[in-house]
Amino acid sequence: MKHVETYGQIPNQSPGRLFIVEGIDGSGKSTQLTLLAQWLRSQGHRVVFSEWNSSPIVRATTARGKKRRLLTPLTFSLIHATDFSDRVERDIVPALKAGAIVLADRYVYTAFARDVARGVDPAWVRALYRFATVPTLAVYFRVPLDVALYRILSGRPKLKWYEAGMDLNLHPDTTESYKLFQARIQAEYERIVPEFGLEVMDATRPVEIQQRLLRQLVTPHLNPAASREQSRRAVVAETGG
């Protein structure tokens, strides 16, 4: 077989920026990304949020597969890749071309971790996502498993079938299965971090410290023109009013 191109070969050549966060459930990445979005907007940047599993057409099929438990590791992987591909084509790439800052809560690395934890071939799933643009910055929120599990399990009443990895027959009890599944996903993330050069955030530190560090990571990649534009507008507003 000829050399099959794999993920990691399509850099972002648009004027926009793509910042993504990754980590297991309960790592606090979503909180940090929301805070980052508010800060970037206050600095005058155009920000677009992109969430995992958000394409309307594909979502109905994913929901059907989950509800009826039709999904196998392979179809779970493919339906999420379908959804992600639609998101890339419709949301992410056009926004990057328009010069926006795109923030993604989870990206291809979620699929690499979760699908391989389900037994999918690592090389196959990396090739599957070949079409995806490499982010400007990817931050992995590292947290001890028991901390993340405590955050999730103390707050949420009911875990869903696939979320708990019940399709893998790891344990008959949903909570126990969830713990084992999260441990597997975390082990995969630890392989992915050096493989793709993800930045690591110590997610046990206080929220405001993490946010300061996240802003520091993002700052070198920001387009100074955006904040200049903001100050110019501020001047115009002052003289005009």
Binding site: V4, S55, T82, R90, F131
Partner: protein, 238 residues
Amino acid sequence: MKRFESYGGGLPGVSLDDLSGWLIVVEGTDGVGRTTHVNRLRAHLERLGYAVAETGLSRSDLASRGIHRAKQGNTLGSNAFNLFYATDFADRLQQQIVPALRSGFVMITDRYIYSLIARAIVRGADPDWIKKVYSVALRPDAVYYLRIDVENLVPRVLADGPFDYWESGMDLPMGEDLYESFIQYQSRVIAELDGLAREYGFQTLDATRDVDAISEDLCARVSRLLQDRRPALATPLS
């Protein structure tokens, strides 16, 4: 020895050790008459006493509805469409094809990964990429390729009604003219199938012939295959 294996790394969580039966693929472009020939082949094999099962594109329990909805509005990106079809295929592979083979059926599939690969390539997918995506597929016992050229295809398609939007590649930038687009699109699909025929070793049948001549040819070839390649599990007496 294993009766079946996948082209690539295998199917996650699925054992291929206990498969018997046969996996027969009928390939060919839109309107070539595949459905007619699959029906006749099925009847022929059932007369001989074989248990026959059948599948075809976008017939999965999981994704068929979603694909039909997406086609109505042309609302899905083209790469996403390729992956939606791959999802449909993977579901049928695991829920229909593998169980049928496990039970010793002759599984006839009206198109397989090859049409899906050809269509994706015509829609701009990287050939190596889409082949890698479909490398989970089982290697079939035989692929019978009903080959026709565009000139001979046009009158057949028109006999069945007007040109179809998707079969004419109207989602592609090939112009507003349905007929011109059909010719261009189908020529490209057929060219890709011809390439895949060499790469994957199809048996090519001349589909410009009379319908009865084609189906006799196809039935004879499949009967021969089934006699030559009896699965071990199917011969308990001797």
